[in-house]
Amino acid sequence: MFLIYCPYCKATREEEEFHNAGEAFIARPADPEAASDEEWGDYLFMRKNPKGWHWEQWQHAAGCGRVFAVKRHTLSYRIAGSWTLAAGKALFLQEGGV
């Protein structure tokens, strides 16, 4: 069971306080109507689902309610850190994330 650091509560708490909210930084197409069925389907359903480091969102459901970014290894379950979505995204892009 994970211990997750909430960057808003500035505290490390038990996994049970959180909800996993899926892969992070999936951008909604800026103009959905212009997206092809394929692009739209990709946005809606296709996921990276990596075996390795994964940027994901967690919501501190029983705490402050905030959604934030966590970089977690999906095999070792190690957590590299938690960031606000904005800070996390910057780091994610810096790592070459797409």
Binding site: N20, W40, L44, F45, M46, R47, N49, K51, R72, Y77
Partner: protein, 417 residues
């Protein structure tokens, strides 16, 4: 079959102190090239190879397995088999499989201990009961056996269950599929392995596929921990790991791989004669022929390839079990474990072609693919052999996620296993 199993063969070998048994399957060295490679030596992959050889006359087939045969979810599931799915497409798919189960032991000459003891889905709210009515009627009209049970009838079949009004979620009724049941999971793997091997399929264990060799949009083979192996067609049936493999060919899949946990109690005298599932309370339980209660937990919410989940999930599951079966609280958990299930957004699988010619995927079985083992293998074999889906699996293409034609089993019958 060279090495037929029967009561008489047991006698015969017994007289020789069992020193004369043949290997159940052969373990050859991989060849350089095959007509068809199946990635993943779970029940599905082995069944696909078996049916490819048996029904489609493909001669030169290999199954590549990164660990030991059946080391994935085939070894880890709660073995519930049923076909009482809501939507026509899924009902046909799972019923196709159930029919194959019904002759499987004889077909494979391997007793997979398929036990048609019935599967019960218990309802606790008025909406549960509406959903049960809807599903049972749809089942019957699709040729799938189903009945609705009253709480009394439930109690008769499952004396341990609490149907009293004092429960937090009292039992209001259930749907029941008499032909549903359980089977011995490992035996299914071994039975298919043995039968496939007997038909000349090469089963290669300890052979991890690293990536696909694709040229000009066509599959050429795979790179493995035992070197490159070429093939004209490759079928991927690597439950849990399909996204990882697909990514190596630049294919994105609508999958998330989650830990799913299960547990068994110590072995006890027969006390539960059917499979009982409750969606509202979140409990799934049966008793194996060996006597242990086999209990399935809920899915862990995060992506995880660790074959383990979080303990509070097990605790919640057992609280649900104790809620439905208050007498079991002194029974003890002997062992718990986890598998990796790849889940699609509509809780139905993908069996079909990809945009790489000659590369096929059978994936997304999520929490419920054990019951599909023979059926999925059969249909996957057809799809690979014809480079086109069978009518039964045609609705289960990847395209449905682009057109929106989902077959959403979450809807009215969000029963997981």
């Amino acid at each position: 079959m060279a090495n037929r199993y029967s009561f008489w063969s047991l006698l015969r070998h017994g007289l020789k102190h069992h020193q004369s048994w043949q290997p159940a399957w052969k373990s050859p060295r991989p060849k350089d090239r095959y007509d068809v490679i199946i990635v993943g030596g779970g029940g599905h992959g082995l069944a696909a190879a078996y049916y490819l050889a048996r029904e489609h006359g493909v001669k030169n087939i290999a199954v590549l397995e990164k660990g030991w045969l059946g080391s994935g979810n085939s070894a880890r599931n709660t073995t519930i088999i049923r076909s009482n799915y809501l939507w026509d497409e899924s009902a046909f798919l799972f019923e196709h499989s159930l029919k194959l189960w019904e002759g499987l032991s004889q077909d494979l000459n391997f007793n997979v201990l398929f036990s048609q003891r019935g599967v019960m889905n218990v309802g606790h709210t008025l909406q549960d009961m509406r959903d049960i009515e809807r599903r049972v009627n749809a089942n019957l009209l699709n040729g799938v056996d189903a009945v609705i049970l009253t709480p009394r009838q439930i109690k008769e079949r499952v004396p341990l269950i609490d149907i009293g009004p004092g429960a937090r979620y009292p039992v209001m009724g259930a749907s029941f599929q008499p032909r549903g049941g359980v089977a011995r999971h490992d035996a299914v793997v071994w039975g298919f392995a043995r039968a496939a091997s007997d038909l000349g399929v090469d089963l290669i264990e300890q052979c991890e596929v690293h990536d696909f060799i694709v040229e000009n949009g066509c599959i050429k083979g795979v790179n493995t921990s035992q070197g490159p192996i070429l093939a004209e067609r490759v079928g991927c049936s690597a439950s849990g790991h399909n996204s990882v493999l697909a990514a190596t060919a630049g294919i994105r899949l609508p999958l998330e791989s989650h830990p799913l946990q299960a547990l068994v109690s110590e072995s006890l005298k027969p006390a539960l004669d059917t499979v009982v599932m409750s969606n509202a309370v979140h409990a799934y339980i049966s008793q194996s022929d060996k006597g242990e209660f086999v209990i399935g937990a809920g899915i862990d919410g995060y992506v995880g390839y660790g074959q383990r989940g979080s303990p509070h999930v097990i605790e919640h599951t057992l609280s649900a079990i104790v809620e439905m079966f208050p007498t079991l609280s002194r029974v003890r958990m002997n062992r718990q474990w986890g598998g990796i299930v790849d889940v699609t957004p509509d809780a139905n699988p993908i069996i079909g072609k990809t945009r790489v010619k000659g590369l096929y995927f059978n994936c997304g079985w999520g929490t419920g693919g054990f019951k599909a083992t023979p059926g999925a293998g059969h249909l996957f074999a057809h799809t690979i052999a014809h480079d086109a889906p069978h009518p039964i699996n045609a609705p289960f293409s990847i395209e449905r996620f682009l057109t929106g034609r989902l077959v959403d089993e979450h809807g009215a019958s969000a029963v997981a296993h």
